[in-house]
Amino acid sequence: MKLFIRISIAICIPLFLLLAAYTLRGNYLSPEQKLMGEWKEVSWTYEKADNKGSVNFNDEPISEAMKHMISRSKIIHKAETWSFTADSGLVLNTQHKRLNVNWALMGSSNILRLKYNDEFEEHYNLVELNEKQMVLHFENDNLTRGIVKIIFEKI
């Protein structure tokens, strides 16, 4: 009888916590829901970088030419607006073309994975995500080694 009570308690407590968590979850937007919609790139800066001599790259805005060089081999190259759709689709809009990419949130929703044509795969650290702003980080070793920070605003 004692064993039965112990087992019941051992099962019921986690079950209760899980149910409570699931119920509470319904009242809040999930990171996927927050991500959906159209986002505009506002700025590119170096979060951390190897500074060269007296040049301090940290928190300095990255110039258009440098941005072009950094993102040259990336899926997000020249993208200005990012439109996340519910069917895991992401439309990267530039002035000249649109690129359809697949997206997924991984880990504890801290990684944004982009896949293009099932061939190219890129990962970005989703550092901040709220109803108005999104911040992505990615590591760069092109030109200057460091962590690039992209800030987006929801349109």
Binding site: A10, A21, Y28, E32, L105, M106, S109, N110, R113
Partner: protein, 261 residues
């Protein structure tokens, strides 16, 4: 002395194999889900950070993951303590069997059904954390809390402490310290080898890597069974030999008394 050495060899073999599977699970989940599943230190850090940020959604997920790891260890130890007096092999086998079920479920779901949604990722990571909690609870319980095979923070600390102890001449010759050092080193190496193997396989096998790990766990179960069986057989033979010797001595004494009479 030979018995002690055999026991140490057994511990090293089991430790390496358990740690190897944990390393495989951790590296595979890191590649496939971008999340660690064989330890919860990072998840505690995430939980603390999200509490500070007031992000309820992420708090719940981090809490769920820690809870599942906790539940795995609890379940494992509970089973071992409940059945400690009955069948030793069975009490070890049940947590391992549940762990295998978790690994196979994650592998099959990932291979055939996974649509890469966040909720699926979170639940699959939760299942793996539960499996690793089970394994850690099992190894900790059967070694009187001296060994943990799924995470290496404590082990690396102990390894460093033991290495520093071995620098002292008077401690260096102590067999217990040397044995513990060998055991911990083998666990770290086992974890590393398992992780490296999984890191290579996962790019080809993707989610099926969890099926391979489950197969390795079945092998481990069979090995555990064979060792338990051989130890039982050894004990039985030893007892039979002792009984035979006792009977012979008693007979000789009886004969001696008869002739003396």
């Amino acid at each position: 002395m030979i018995k002690e050495r055999n026991r140490l060899n057994d511990k090293i073999k089991f430790g390496m194999m358990y740690a190897g599977t944990a390393g495989m699970v951790n590296v595979s989940s890191l590649v496939l889900f971008f999340s660690f599943t064989s330890n919860v230190t990072g998840h505690y850090a995430i939980l603390a950070n999200e509490i500070a940020n007031g992000n309820l959604f992420k708090i719940l997920i981090a809490f769920l993951w820690i809870l599942l790891y906790f539940a795995g260890s609890f379940f494992s130890h509970f089973l071992i303590r409940s059945g400690a007096s009955s069948n030793t092999y069975l009490t070890h086998a049940v947590p391992m069997f549940v762990e295998i079920i978790c690994l196979v479920s994650v592998g099959l779901y990932g291979h055939y059904l996974y649509a890469e949604t966040l909720i699926e990722t979170e639940l699959l990571v939760a299942a793996l954390l539960f499996a690793m909690g089970l394994q850690n609870g099992l190894t900790a319980s059967i070694t009187s809390f001296s060994l943990k095979t799924t995470h290496l923070t404590g082990l690396t600390t102990d390894l460093a402490i033991h290495l520093s102890m071995l620098y002292k001449k008077n401690i260096r010759n102590k067999e217990a310290i040397r044995s513990k050092f060998k055991l911990m080193l083998s666990i770290a190496v086992g974890y590393l080898i398992g992780g490296a193997i999984a890191g290579k396989i996962v790019h080809y096998a993707h989610f099926m890597v969890f099926i391979y790990i489950a197969v390795a766990m079945v092998g481990l179960m069979i090995y555990d069974w064979s060792r338990t069986f051989s130890i039982k057989e050894m004990v039985r033979r030893e007892r039979a030999a002792q009984k035979e010797l006792f009977e012979k001595t008693a007979n000789a004494e009886l004969l001696g008394k008869k002739y003396a009479g």
